[in-house]
Each structure stands twice: as C-alpha cells, then as structure tokens.
C-alpha cells in the first residue's frame, strides 16, 4: 500500500485541462487579431472622416471674428474680445446663444479692465486728427521777440538770493534748479538791476520753437495767441540750468515716427515736423528728450556737465537731476492747464462739427458691428447644418442657405429690436432680408467666377508645373501653399471689382458696403480653400492620409504580432511542460503496475489517476457499490 502512495503527482492538471488551456490561448490570440482589426479600422475611419461643414465653420468663425473685432468692436470702446466673438460664431445654436453683449455688468467691467484707454482706436483717432491741425505758435524772428528776451531776463533776475552790496556793486547767489548747486553772481556793469551769471542760463522748459496750438479748435485772434505766447515765455516755462547743459540740450524734440517715440534735434536730417509731438508730450517724454541729448553730448560739454553735477562718472544723467527736471516740467504743465484752454478761446463751430461726424460714424459702426454680431452666428450655424447633408453641391448649399433665411431673420429681428427701436414698421425686416440676399448672391457670383478661373487657367498651369517638378513632399507642400496664396489674391481682386461695380450700380452706402465686403470675402475665400483642399492638387492631403494609414497599420500590426508571439510562446511552453509532467506520471504509474501484488496491494490509486489524467469519467465507488452491495467498500 505504501508503494502506491509514493506515486504522487499533480492531480489538478490533466490532459483535458491541458487541451482546454491550449484552446483558450488560441482563442485569446484570435481575439487579439480581431481587436487589432477593430483598432485599425476605427483609427482609419477617424482619419478619413472629413467634416467639410465643421472646417468651413471654424475657418469662417476665426477669420470673421478677428476682422469684426478689428473693424467694429474696438476694445477701447466696446466690451468684447475676438476670442469671445469667435466662440459665439463657432458654438452658436438657437438653444445655445452665448450673447456677450447682453451679458451682465460684471462681464462688461472685466473686459473694460483689460483695455488701455490710451491705445483705444477712438483716442488714437482723436490724437491723429489733432496732430493734423497743429500750427506753430511763434512765427517771428527770435531776436525780435520781446516775449523771449524779457521772459528770460526777468526770470534770471527773479532767482537771485542773498543780495549784498560791496564796493558799489551788488552781489548774490543763484541756484541751479536741476543740480541744486549755488553760484556767486553779480549785476551787469552797465545796469545794476540786471543780473549776470557765467555758469547758469535761463531755459524754456518747453522749447519755444516746439510750441504749437490747434489751429482748428482754438480761435486765431492776436489777443488769444499772444496770451499763449506770453505763457510760454513766463516764469512758469523757465528754469535755471548749467550753461553747458543748456547748450547740449539745444532744441530737444519728441517725435512719434510710425508709432515709435524718438528724441531728436530739429536740425537732424531724420526730423519731420509732421511727427513732432513735443507740444503735447508727457513730462517723462520731455525729460527723456533732454537726457538723450546730454548723454550723447561732445567730450568737452560732457566733462563740464560731470563737473557741474549733471552726469556721473559713466556719463549718465544723475537721478536727482532727472527728478528735478521732471518736477519742473510737471509744474509747467499744471500751470499751462490752469492758464490756457479757456472755453472762450475755443472754436465751437469746428469742434461740434467734427464731433458730430465722428459720432455719426461711430453710430453706424456700432449698429453694423452689432448687426454682424447677431447675423453671422445663425448664418454659420445654418451653413454648417446644410453642408453636412449628403450629396451637397455648391448650388444646393446656397439654395438651402437662402431657405433658412426665415429663421435667421426672425432671430436677428428679435435680438436687434432694442437697438433699432427708432426704425419703424417693417424696415428692420426688410433691411435684414436684403442684407442676407446680397450675401448669398455675392458668395455665389464670387465662387462661380473663381472656379471658372481655376478650371480654365490655374489648374492646367499647376498641372504642368506638377508634371515637371520633382515630386518630393517638401516641394509639394510649398507648391500647395503658393497655390492657395495665389487664389486668395485672385479672390480679393475679383471681389474688389465686383464691389466697385455694385457700388456704382446701386449706390450702396459705405455703412453697408464695408461689412458686406468683409463677410463675402471671408465666406468665399474659405469656400474656395475647401474646394482646393478637396482637389488636393499636390497630393499633400492624400500623401499624409496614405502615410497615416500605413503608420497606423504598422503600429497596430507590430503590436499584434509581438503580443501574439509572446502569448503563443508562453502557452506552448506551459503546455509542453505540463505534458512532460503528465508523461512522467503515466510512466511511473505503468511501471509501478508491473510490480503490483494483486493480493496485497491496492490498485485503486493508480487506476484512479489514469481515470483522472484521461478524464475517463469512471466513478469507482459507485461501480464497486453496484458490484458488491457494500456501501463503503473502497479504501484508497
């Protein structure tokens, strides 16, 4: 009995289990195959899905938002950003209407906080207009200008302190207002009331020659202009400074050249009086103009200024000199605003006339801006819906777009009723409808003309080029870009011609022409771009698509092959190991059977193992019971 108990083996693993595991691995590998095909097909499908409608909507929205904001929604004047507008164009549906204009006060404030009023379009326009009307205040010869001579002399005399008399002569001190240093001085020999200083000179804070006035908005009477001239030669516009510093500074001017502030001398060859804004410059700009002159002065003057406490060892203007200069300028500007600019000096007629024009223009802009703001989102939305329908041609597209106008008009009318409250009756409806019809007609005409050109001329030309060209990807991509640029250019030209014709034909006002041109240009250019993309002259899209299909296949195939090999190898290894164990077990069982003593030993365990290994399905206990009638007869 003991002998049989030593024949122990893994009862869990039999041939049936082995075959089952083998089949399961085979099934698992097949699932890997099906998964790979599924992944390849899904990824390919994503690649091949070409959502024409979404592309059109995205392109139009992005371009239009940028243009509309640039032309109609000046960030300084209005409370909307390009991103917000693009978002509205792109994500609009009748149920989802992100209306930033109608949103709460907080939104307005937050957008307003981003704005820089100095840079707003309206402000810039005002500054630009004012610049045009600037006229020179001092037109007479300086030597003959009594304001100039008297002004400086009076100021110098007024600055003398600590006066005392010695040997019949008057002595005193005079202070450099920029460096703070004091100098001994005396009166002129010929005139005891007239003080003289070798070191310091009286200087115009705002240069006399740079002084201008707005000839359109200020009355040009002698009485008023003399009052201005007197101010600029008064103590308020004077300061005592080192003679060498005054000489080096000369006539320092602040100029705005192509939007950039430059400091220069009017004798410089780059100087253009039209760019001179010295008269309206800020205190910082005036100080910087002087600093620029001092720091670029000649060696001798520079040395004197170092000795006089203006420049440091490196030739840079000292901080305290700058601060004092700025203080002087600020005081002068404050005095100017107190003294000049009385309402009675102004030319009301001109100001009100200009203001009315600007306001009129602004009102038109604001209305059209809001009009586009409300018209375009539903138009883009409708276009997107229509273009997604199957079998859509350009003609069908435009026809369908026109059909959708009822919905668009109803929406715009509802939204704009508050804005156009003064336009009575059916006018709003008519206005919106006409505008919409013109857009559709323009897009149709433009695209037709463009495609005609494409068909007759450009395609054959491009095809010829393509035939000759070396078909390298980079060259193809370049050529693709060039073609698109070419079409954009042609499109613009064609549009200009059409609009010029329209304008002459129907005498449409600017207020309508401008947005019309804007919208039609953007829609037709995008539509043509999409047509070009579809034709794919240089196989760029096709090439990328094909390469991507190949890439996806290679990735998925490599993964599938690698995983399959690994799985099968591991499976084979495990099953052949199990089979070896089973073989060893069976050999042992059969060998032990040869030594069996039928009268002493029990064969049950051996046979039970054979039964188990081959899944023979024998129930020895039941069989024995049936045979012998003994319930518990077997002792394993």
């Amino acid at each position: 009995m003991l002998y049989f108990r030593e024949v122990a083996f893994d009862m869990e693993k039999n041939i049936e289990e082995l075959i089952k595991t083998r089949n399961a691995i085979s099934l698992q590998q097949r699932e890997m195959f099906l998964d790979s095909i599924e992944r390849i097909n899904m990824r390919n499908r994503e690649l091949l899905t070409n959502d024409f409608g979404a592309t059109l909507a995205q392109n139009i929205s992005r371009d239009l938002a940028g243009e509309v904001v640039r032309r109609y929604f000046d960030l300084g004047d209005f409370y909307i950003t390009a991103d917000q507008l693009a978002d509205r164009f792109l994500h609009f549906s009748y149920d989802n209407d992100p209306d930033f204009l109608m949103s709460n006060e907080e939104t307005r404030k937050s957008v307003y906080n981003y704005t820089d009023s100095m840079n707003s379009g309206s402000r810039q326009k005002i500054l630009s207009d004012c610049q045009q009307f600037q006229s020179q205040l001092f037109t007479t010869n300086r030597a003959e200008d009594r304001f100039d001579i008297n002004g400086k002399k009076n100021y110098r005399n007024s600055q003398i302190e600590h006066i005392y008399e010695k040997d019949g002569k008057l002595f005193g001190t005079i202070r450099d207002e920029l460096s703070g240093r004091e100098f001994e001085t005396t009166t002129k020999p010929q005139n005891k009331h007239d003080w003289y200083s070798r070191e310091l000179q009286a200087d115009h804070i705002l240069p006399r020659e740079a002084t201008t006035y707005n000839a359109r908005y200020i009355k040009s009477s002698d009485e008023i202009l003399n009052k201005y001239r007197e101010f600029y030669n008064s103590d308020a516009n004077m300061q005592m400074m080192l003679a060498s510093a005054n000489g080096s500074k000369g006539d320092a001017r602040v100029c705005k050249v192509n939007g950039t502030i430059k400091y220069m001398n009017p004798k410089s060859k780059d100087y253009d009086p039209a760019t001179d804004i010295t008269a309206n410059a800020t205190s910082d700009q005036l100080v910087e103009a002087a600093v620029h002159q001092w720091e670029t002065a000649g060696a001798s003057a520079s040395e004197n200024m170092k000795k006089g406490g203006y420049l440091d060892e490196n030739g840079k203007v000292k901080k305290e000199v700058k601060e004092n200069y700025k203080k002087q300028v600020e005081e002068m500007l404050a005095a100017r605003s107190r003294t000049l600019g009385d309402l009675k000096d102004l030319n009301y007629q001109n100001i009100t006339s200009d203001a009315a024009k600007a306001a009129k223009k602004s009102v038109g802009k604001i209305i059209m801006g809001q009009f586009i703001y409300y018209v375009m989102p539903p138009v883009i939305f409708e276009a997107q819906q229509i273009i997604r329908k199957k079998g859509m041609s350009l003609e069908k597209f435009l026809k369908e777009l026109k059909k959708s106008s009822k919905r668009v008009i109803a929406y715009v009318k509802d939204k704009m009723s508050d804005i156009l409250i003064n336009i009575v009756g059916n006018t709003v409806h008519k206005f919106v409808k006409v505008f919409f019809d013109i857009i559709i007609e323009m897009v149709r005409t433009t695209i037709k003309r463009m495609l005609k050109i494409v068909k007759n001329l450009v395609l054959s030309l491009v095809n010829c080029c393509k035939t000759i060209m070396n078909p390298e990807t980079s060259a193809a991509q370049k050529a693709d870009s060039i073609t698109k640029i070419m079409f954009t250019t042609i499109n613009t030209i064609v549009l200009e011609i059409i609009f010029e014709y329209l304008e002459k034909q129907f005498s449409l006002p600017d207020i309508i022409m401008e947005p019309l041109q804007l919208i039609v240009t953007i829609i037709s250019t995008n539509a043509i771009m999409l047509v070009l993309d579809k034709v794919d002259l240089f196989n760029v899209r096709y090439g990328l698509l094909s390469a991507n299909i190949e890439k996806i296949f290679n990735e998925e195939n490599a993964r599938y092959v690698e995983e399959s090999k690994k799985l099968l190898a591991e499976g084979y290894q495990a099953s052949s190991h199990d089979l070896k164990l089973i073989t060893a077990n069976i050999t042992e069982i059969m060998e032990s059977m040869k030594l069996l003593d039928m009268q002493k030993d029990d064969v049950l365990e051996s046979l039970e193992n054979v039964n188990h290994l081959f899944s023979m399905g024998i129930d020895f206990e039941e069989e024995w019971y049936y045979f012998s009638g003994q319930e518990v007869a077997i002792e394993a």
């Binding site: 599938y560 039928m598 054979v610 012998s628």
Partner: protein, 310 residues
C-alpha cells in the same frame, strides 16, 4: 525615333504619377505579391499540419485495432469470473475512436482574393475610357480613392496572412501534442490490458478454486451433502479474515475490469480532443462562440474596405 519614344515614355510616366495611376499599379503589384506569398505559406503549412494529422491518425487506427480485438477477449474471461462474486455490468458496445480531420486548402478564400485582384487590375483600356469620361482631375480623384482602398485591403491581407500563419503554426503544435497524448493513451491501454492478460487471468482459476474449496469446507462443517454445490460467493464474508488476500485479488480484478470496459465502450481520446467531455464545457464554448460572433459584428460595422467601388 528612339529619343521620341524615350520622351513619350518619360511624359507617360509623369502623367501617370500625377493621376496616381503609377501608384495604383504599384499597389496592385504589391497585392499580387502579398497574395502569392500568402498562398504559398498557407499551402506549405497546411501540408505540414496534415502530415502530423496523418501520424496522429495512424496512432488512432492502431489504438482502435487493439481495442476492438484484444480488449473484449480479455474482458469476457474476467467478466465471467467476477460474475461469481457480484453484479457485473455488461461490457457495453464498442465505440470507435475517431480519426482527426485533415485541413483543406481555403480555395474559396483564394478565389475571393483573386477576384478582388482582377477587379482592381484595370486594363489600359479601362484607364483610357475613365480618363476620357472623368477628365484628369476626376480620374485623379477616382484613382486616389481606389489607391486608399487598395492600401487598406493590402494591409488587411497582410494581417490576415499573419493570423492564418499563427493559426496554422498553432494547429501544427497542437497536432504534435495530440500525437504524444494518443501515444500516452495507447501506452496506458496496452499496459492495463497486458496486465489483465498476463497477471490476472492466469490467477483466476486458482482464486476460483480457493472459493470452491471454501464452499466445500463449509458444507463439510455443516454436514451437508457434497453433491450439486452452488458456487455463489459472498465477498463480504472473507473481508478482514485470514482470507483477505483473496478479497484483495477480486477487488483489484474488478477495478481493472471497470477501466478496461471504459476503454472499450468509450472513445476517451476523441472526447479529449473534441473537448465535449461535459455539459459545462459545452455551455462555456457556446458562450465564447457568442462573444466572438458579437465581436465580429462590431468589427463588421467599422469595416471600410467597401469604398472605391470594390
């Protein structure tokens, strides 16, 4: 005219490059090449698997011959011996072990691929007619669409080829394991039957003689007549007695008998290879089959090979 021919060839090549026709021809050639390699590999591997199946079937044939002749011969003697001691079941009806089926060349699949190749392998006349009707741009768009479709089909053929080879290699290794299993079974069957034949059956007379002597002994003790004694033995009376050895013999002989009957009346190997050993297995397999079919339907929804008029 040599130079003119050269120029014309050059121009034709360039034009075909533009329309995508050149690429299409290259793709068609690749499909043909892949198909030829696929077909050769399938045929070679099927031959290899079938040679293993032949070996397996030879073993099964040998097993069946042994089971049909040697097993019943020994079982009859053993059965009649055991019948003296208890209720012996019938040997049962002989059930043959089934031989494995040979793999066939997938002719239908090959025909379908060949049909596809003939569809995409446009003749010069087809290309000319299409170019004439569709124009250069239309032809280009049609050819590009076709090229993408061929590219996908080619990739599908490549991956199908990989999978078929995996499956054939798998079948080959399984067949080789099955041969080992069959030989193991034959080894066991022969060992058991040989034991019955050489060890048990020669002992039957001796054991039977013992029990007859025991019966006579009992008659003598009971002072009964010694004529017409019925030799119906009861095993239980000798269990745990001085005659335990005989009890063991009968019991062991019975156990061998049960196993031998099973070998004779049940296709044990066939059940193992077919995997239909229990109802539970059947349910499991059905579930796996359903899952596979469901997955194939899902895959079918995403198949995009049908594009390009194919």
């Amino acid at each position: 005219m040599g130079w003119l021919d050269n120029v014309l060839d050059w121009a034709a090549d360039k034009v075909q490059t533009v329309t995508g026709e050149k690429e299409r021809r290259e793709n068609v050639a690749k499909v043909k090449e892949t198909y030829e390699a696929y077909r050769w590999q399938v045929e070679t591997n099927i031959d290899s698997v079938n040679s293993s199946i032949t070996e397996l079937n030879n073993s099964i044939t040998e097993l069946n011959a042994f089971r049909a002749d040697d097993v019943p011969r020994n079982l009859i003697s053993l059965g009649s011996f055991l019948n003296e001691f208890g209720n012996v079941k019938e040997i049962g009806e002989y059930a043959e072990e089934e031989t494995a089926c040979y793999l066939e060349i997938p002719t239908h699949r090959f025909i379908s691929i060949e049909d596809y190749i003939s569809d995409i392998d446009w003749s010069q006349v087809d290309v000319f007619v299409d170019s004439f009707i569709l124009g250069p741009i239309g032809m280009k768009m049609k050819t590009q669409k076709q090229n993408l479709s061929i590219q996908e089909k080619l990739n599908a053929l490549k991956i199908e080829s990989e999978q078929t080879l995996f499956e054939l290699q798998n079948l080959k290794l399984s067949a080789e394991q099955d041969i080992e299993i069959a030989n193991l079974y034959i080894y066991c069957v022969k060992g058991i039957i040989h034991y019955i034949e050489t060890v048990i059956i020669p002992e039957l007379d001796v054991v039977e003689g013992f029990f007859q002597a025991l019966a006579i002994k009992n008659k003598v003790i009971a002072e009964e007549a010694l004529a017409n004694i019925p030799f119906k033995n009861r095993l239980s009376i000798i269990q745990d007695t001085a005659y335990q050895d005989h009890y063991h013999f009968v019991r062991n002989a019975f156990l061998f008998y049960v196993v031998a009957c099973k070998i004779y009346n049940t296709p044990v190997l066939t059940n193992l290879f077919m995997g239909n050993t229990s109802e539970e297995d059947y349910i499991e397999i059905t579930q796996e089959k359903n899952a596979l079919e469901e997955q194939m339907q899902v895959v079918g929804r995403y198949v995009i090979f049908q594009r390009g008029g194919i």
